[in-house]
Point group: C2
Chain length 326, copies 2
Amino acid sequence: MLSSEADHFVRKVRSFDQRGLARVLSMVENGHPLAPSILHSLYNPQRSSLTIGITGPPGAGKSTLTNRLISYYRRHKNRVGVIAVDPSSPFSGGALLGDRVRMQEHASDPGVFIRSAANRGHLGGLSGTTRDALEVLAAASYDPVLVETMGVGQAEVEIASLADITLLVLVPGLGDEVQTMKAGIMEIGDILVLNKADRSGIEQLEMSVNASLELIPDQADRPPVIRCSAQTGEGIAELTDAIGSCTSSGAGRKATAHRRTALLLNSIVREKGRELAQKLLLDRYGSIEETIESILEGRTTPYWIGEMLSGFHNNKRENENECKRD
Amino acid sequence: MLSSEADHFVRKVRSFDQRGLARVLSMVENGHPLAPSILHSLYNPQRSSLTIGITGPPGAGKSTLTNRLISYYRRHKNRVGVIAVDPSSPFSGGALLGDRVRMQEHASDPGVFIRSAANRGHLGGLSGTTRDALEVLAAASYDPVLVETMGVGQAEVEIASLADITLLVLVPGLGDEVQTMKAGIMEIGDILVLNKADRSGIEQLEMSVNASLELIPDQADRPPVIRCSAQTGEGIAELTDAIGSCTSSGAGRKATAHRRTALLLNSIVREKGRELAQKLLLDRYGSIEETIESILEGRTTPYWIGEMLSGFHNNKRENENECKRD
């Protein structure tokens, strides 16, 4: 599968060539024909690189926190990768750029590689691109790789599930109802970070977070809650300690090669399955538009098409005649 | 495709047999072998039945609002279907039952059919089950069908996208930051319902909602904002008017048979594609566990498997030899 051309790019990534790395990430994002070969070669199921997801509402200070974490890990001589996942929402495009410009203080540091996943890339969508970019950065010996996501959409939840550890960043000023509202979101946080701890309302936030966590029956399953101020740096040491013990404790429930592999495999199977089903549909109906027309005219139904796709596996060709409905 | 056994159930659904309908919904949820045939027969791309999604944070009063809407549509002689999608989150299980018990005042009304989608059903998951249950209720002449979802998770967003109109229910007491946080969520609301309008803070909520909406460049794209109190009934007439004009205005941007068909087809293609890819994987590796072992031992990679799945479409058998990496 590995052509000499792909091999050229693989070597670039492994030899700390930042321009080569950027090129490969673009190839991954754009669905370049060589991308699968390159990913196949770079992939290492036993990689030690830690991926840390950073998520939470806009305004929670995620970019400032990411900045702090970059500085911390740089002081400890780590090469740090950052993937900043831009929001798909047209609503929240504004505030973002300013925050990320701040991150650029690290841009001239060769030990830091920052990548913005700004578009939905090729077939796999934003989460497919981010998933693959993570593996490329790990192969380029960036450790940790920080993935900052905006908001709480579908893509964000999926990306968080691919990270080894996810920090859910919250800030004071949200009432109890909000904490309840975020119930589903809280489940994606391995560590709950209460940022802007110097603000009034931090006590109330911590109380309601703890009240929510008490609903988790097993105390050992409750994520640690860390107060910090990304702005002043207060609490960052406690946070990195918590990250460290999350990963070193065998509990490091997301950290095993097995779990990573299962998630990556699942994500790829889902993506390729969708592509495959689409191709089979197009083989039969020519285009999505013609399929929809067929359905609207009563010649077939989405459920019949579903059966046709299922039957494909068994080559149940007898299913391939359109059947009349009563 | 339609056996006489399936035909039996199809007739039950069409003849307003509530027990038969309940049976069919269970078959759909449990992936019964007859389910695809029944769904195929019942499906009508030109159905007039309107599906109204009702979503928003716990505590926003969605169940009370659903109750009000049931009463309203019953007074107008509609048969009303309700699908109450239970949360997948263990966090928010508590408050729910009480709310839904209230809905049971309608349980003895033969013109109302209430169904709780409590489990994740068969392969398609919660959103697949809900999607199919919607079509069954429409075929049973329930119009409208109300789909109440909890929280803002992935399944909820997907379900909302299948509804013709989605009401996003908000309540006073959430600050500006929360409005921003919900940016992504707001996009799923065709009508923004500010519930508990008798509470203090309603002005502030409306102001921040409107401020968020101003970010939508085209004024015509901004969803209407309706104040109401599900508790007292105040504003419900305005809400049902808004629902009416959303559907009657050609703008009724989600309401066309074309759009419904495209969404249903997309959802089924995604679901069947995933199933198909999983079967192909198992054909080759025996089990997910063995696949993961293969990857961990370096004999293959998820990316190579992805190529194998892609290649299946073209019967590119030359791809099927595992290739060595450099």
